[in-house]
Symmetry: C2
Subunit: 261 residues, 2 copies
Amino acid sequence: MKWCRFYNEEKISFGIIEDNLIIPVSGDPFNGFEKTNKNLLLEETELLIPVFPKTFYAVGVNYLNHVNKMSKLTGRSASPPTAPDVGYRANNALIAHNKPIIIPKDATEKVQYEGELVVVIGKEAKNLNKKNVWEHIFGYTIGNDVSERTWQSNDRTLWRAKNTDTFKPMGPWIETAVNLENMITTIKVNNKIKDQFKTNNMIFGISDYLVKITKYITLFPGDVVWMGTDEVPSNIKNGDVVDIEISGIGTLSNPVLKKIS
Amino acid sequence: MKWCRFYNEEKISFGIIEDNLIIPVSGDPFNGFEKTNKNLLLEETELLIPVFPKTFYAVGVNYLNHVNKMSKLTGRSASPPTAPDVGYRANNALIAHNKPIIIPKDATEKVQYEGELVVVIGKEAKNLNKKNVWEHIFGYTIGNDVSERTWQSNDRTLWRAKNTDTFKPMGPWIETAVNLENMITTIKVNNKIKDQFKTNNMIFGISDYLVKITKYITLFPGDVVWMGTDEVPSNIKNGDVVDIEISGIGTLSNPVLKKIS
């Protein structure tokens, strides 16, 4: 089942996508809902980010190819994480499918996409174990963890490198039924494939992270956990369009604009 | 004016504190409100955190005494921040005045308070300048940035060191009218003064941070920015009570419990 979020009669509404239609619901998928007897054309509806998280978690480095290739590029030694220690991103930076990534005028040319699987929490969760993790997940969406690499290297924190307004596209919708083992992430810039990798080929998997996180932290319905990216991302620039496709979910597409004033 | 937040007739409500009474309002202080003709006794009302932020910013190291004394203690060289690069904390960890700080059973004895001034944003803000910063601030409250120092040193991120459930007491209320230059932060454990410092004696001040942040990031009404702590915090343990007083605001008080199972 595909869930989306949009403005309907001037209010934010959740909806279920069936073929090319959105069926708006009353309520929400986390606390209970009822389908309305209305429908909207998907392609004529401006989607919002599919959920607004209470807390926005991001795993960071989580693929071995990425670690090794980045190490070759930078000449620094490869050091994959030794424990599933989660990080954070900021809600201000979230934008929906089709909305522009806006690069500040003083950013360097090293602004890059990162295509990521996003886990959406469905139920309040503390002290999960490897077995009951999965029933606390509502579904999956796609994230683009846009990063300014010069700021990422030089600032004391990741605040503007990762969390500048518009640097966190998320969507287009949440898919509740996926087969993790079959998923492929494909990243295209201007319709040309730049990177492609097995989505679930992670150093620490989804259940590793959720078990470890919930040993100390309560996850809430609508919280998101971005799972990291593989390969070596490329620069993006004014006029580009970045598509992140994850098979079984869909494609998150965002144009890129560079501010000139 | 003092603003608080609490449950009133099974709904979350904002209220204005006048002497020993709370006047509940309809609406909220950010988008407009009206006083009701009711009142509640402050001391009989269980307060909630005074605001639930969209994004939770935290400045980290921001006092020179703290940098120098910590450097002497650890033998590492003192390196004060050279730019106002902000960090983040997580909403899951927020608890209200009087609620217990719960230390996980596998934490070391190095769990410490940090008494901090908290800035509460009042209006949506982008590209602020030194002059118009102040009209975008709604008011000030108090935060206790509880930290497990062993995890802080050893984990790849601050996730559990700083964001374990209950590690971010905030409150008791928001004071809208303060004189920053006169403020003193006093931290007591079990009613004994442990640390005392000039609240506004910061390396980078409130306006430095908000001007820099909003060059890249939009701040929203209700966002909070925790401004860091001075001196060298002490360990806290099961049975302790930690009071953070900031003159002109009030006192945030929380008992400490260590989990044994």
